[in-house]
């Protein structure tokens, strides 16, 4: 049964909106930003937290969590994780999958985000195993340095040979999981891992500059500091 009115993107329920307002008044929740440098695969920006600001380059003040070399305002839009869902909260002109949005809007995997008419980003949640999302660059706007994509990490991300892993590493023999535990970033894999050249069993803590290597792969995690 189809009713005539359509609004593809559900507006947030009042409770969710309230929760967001409350969060706003308490100040922004902490966001950690990392770079993942993966040999033979690429570079990803990893954002850990539940609220990320997208903005353009700035002369003064701290840059946005996702700072793109693009004609965006300093605070253009925020991406928020509320419960199991991702929302985009526009502060400036934003379009989601062809629809101009004025308030917080639910994002679904496969949605296209268009900011300031020219900046096009893809939003997807590649894996059903984790709620972490991936931002792909569909226009040529990137952060200051070449980055293949931005990962919005909630609980865990998967790096491995399959297409539904957050970072697809075709030549890797086994999947590596990066996850947070008690606010600490850790990683584990079924295959043997070395952390900074020392073999570890089970899982290991990741900190700024940690080099993780395995039989046929290597990557380094680096904390991004606000410049």
């Amino acid at each position: 049964m189809i009713w005539p009115a359509v609004d593809k993107h559900d507006r947030m329920s009042t409770t969710a909106a309230e929760r967001m307002d409350r969060r706003g008044s308490n100040g922004k929740m902490s966001t950690d930003r990392y770079m993942l440098w993966i040999d033979g695969v690429g570079a990803w920006q990893l954002c850990v937290g539940a609220e990320f600001l997208i903005g353009g380059p700035t002369q003064e003040g701290p840059p946005a969590d996702i700072c793109l070399m693009a004609n965006l305002s300093r605070r253009h839009a925020s991406l928020l994780r509320i419960g199991e869902d991702w929302f985009i909260h526009p502060h400036n002109s934003s379009v989601v999958s062809g629809r101009a949005i004025t308030g917080p809007t639910l994002l679904r995997s496969g949605d296209a985000i268009c900011l300031a008419e020219r900046v096009r980003l893809g939003f997807r949640i590649p894996s059903v195993l984790a709620g972490s999302a991936l931002i792909d660059f569909e226009s040529h706007h990137r952060p200051k340095h070449s980055v293949d994509g931005i990962i919005l990490m909630t609980d865990s991300i998967l790096l491995g040979p399959r297409k539904d892993h957050h970072i697809s590493c075709p030549d890797w023999p086994e999947m590596v999981v990066i996850y947070t535990q008690n606010g600490v970033l850790r990683c584990r894999s079924k295959s043997p891992l070395s952390i900074n050249g020392i073999a570890v069993r089970d899982s290991a803590v990741l900190s700024d500059g940690t080099i993780v290597s395995g039989d046929d792969f290597r990557f380094r995690i680096e904390r991004l500091r606000a410049l």
Binding site: D7, D39, G40, V95, G98, R99, E138, S146
Partner: protein
Amino acid sequence: MKFALAPESRPLEGYTIKRAIHRGAFGEVYYALTDAGKEVALKLLHNNTEVELRGVSQCMNLKHPNLVTIFDMRQDADKDHWIIMEYVGGKGLYEVLQENPAGLPLNEVFRWLHGMTAGLSFLHDRGLVHRDLKPANVFSDADLVKIGDVGLSKYISESRRSAQTQSVGTVYYMAPEVARGRYGREVDVYSLGVILYEMITGRVPFEGETTAEILMKHLTAEPDLSVLPEKLRPVLAAALEKDPDRRISDVDELERRFRKAIEDSGFELAKPTPVYVSKLSAQAAAAETASNGRFGLAAASEKDNKVGVVNSWLGYWNTRVPTPIKWVLCGAVLWMILRSGAFQPLTAGGLIGGMAYLVYRQFFMKRPPTVAPRAAVAANTFLSPETASSVAHQESAATRSTATQSPAPVIMNAPQRQMAAAPQARAATAVVYTPATMRQIPAGQRVTDVTTSLTISLAAAALVTTAVHMATDLLPNAADVAFFGTVTLLAAWALIVPAKLWEGRTGDAIVRRLILAGLGLGVGAIAAVLQQFLMLNDSQLLRVDGDGIFNHGTIGRMQMLEGGLPTMAGFMMFFGLLFLIRRWWWQADSFRKARFRISSSLVTLFLGVVLSAILPFSEQLGAIWALAISAVVQLSSGWTPQEDRLLTQAPGASQAGPVLAQVRHPVVVAVPAAAGHKA
């Protein structure tokens, strides 16, 4: 993949390696940042010789947008040479081909070809030959094609002759004369030809297990050109010619011939512009483009401004609730309303509200007339079905993707209501004549239609009643048969007559339904009287076992059931709802899909089942009755086969006006016997 240098190592002063990019046939490539933050690619050369280094230094100052720029060459502490060059992000042609095993679209093929040609042409113009052109050396960064490894060619060709370090991937693209040590610019033409072949077909022309096998094929085997589009075969044949003297000598010439060949085969390389036929289809196309673009802003709609609880709720209902659950929920709500005894007040409220809305709609709301899909196209001068459909085809060229054959009447030209693109597109494209098609049927024709249908319905009703008598044990004696047959016939007449009067005309579906419902009430009343007259009080035909879902067979204060038989109110309710819910005039229209549609009958049968389950009415009888009426209506109403449905412009209608202008006032006549009977 293991790489020699670890992240964060600084082989050269001022450069910090961040990650390894890949390992090529002749060295590792790293992504590095200078201390100031510039990103570069660092290539470590192994086993370098004087000759090779000279090759690189020759190319040090070449500047071309389609070539990867070399910034510098430096030596590290171990005396190894590093080439510092522009970092190119984005996908390489190698990866693109891996992702598209069946080949690339021609526009993409041409984009890559064009970039490679420009870069190679620049090199050739400066007396240089690349010599190692292959997909792994070609990149696309921000839609700009770039050729890498410029200047390293000599290095490769030296080692190639020693046949030590070659990987199979390189040999696929190697011209046959390279084996004899000849390196003219035809070598690059040949490699470009192989890449072109691979981009189009997804396969290289010469495959093999070993380097030697592939080299042998380059020297002796003929490429299989039959897999290519016909016009492209001579172009690729000339590019893949074994003898360099007979090969196309110039990459620009190859691009020119390639371009001409695909344009000759009717393919437009530039972005095809939509065919402009009418303002309507152009508008629809534009609107469609806007709404289909993933990123574009959808065509402005007044809905955007309507931010409200109702809309978001409806949005949720329409998109998130699965259809079966919708049915269950609707059923549950209906059942609760009926159970609670609130049926009567709700019905009364609904009737008053509905009437008020109808009055408002009729007198206060500006609304363009409802127009049939075909009217837009057929309102031209005389059109045979072929030309009509070809016109429709042209008009729909730009809007084909939204074409739908939905028979639902659509509202056209409603700028004041800011209709979305879809109905407009549909209006311009539908090729099927449906009962919603407006047509002018002369009064005489109409009268003939009605009388013929009524006459045939006598026979049809007799036939159907006999069938029911034979097939079921519902009608055991003559009185039952007479009762069933008469009421069926009456019901069919009550449906056919208005349907034939409405045929080809515009009209509000709700009004039509309400009129039919009124006629249904009448049929129910007559049925009740007839039941008394035929003294069917003892008949099993009408006997109701249960109470429906009502308490004691009443709806509100109305008695539906008395002594196990439906009262007059019961009959009236059954026929009224039966007539109200189905769109009966479609079943009687001569432009319906088929003379007798089983699906249509089954839906009616299902409706009968539902009605007799809700109302205190014999379930078997209710279902069979609904089916019988549907059958009689369909069998006796005139029907025009699809191919005979010709429409032409009526004399007197404006010939000069554009199609668009006539959409609001479609004046078309059904010819020759469109509304008549196909005997």
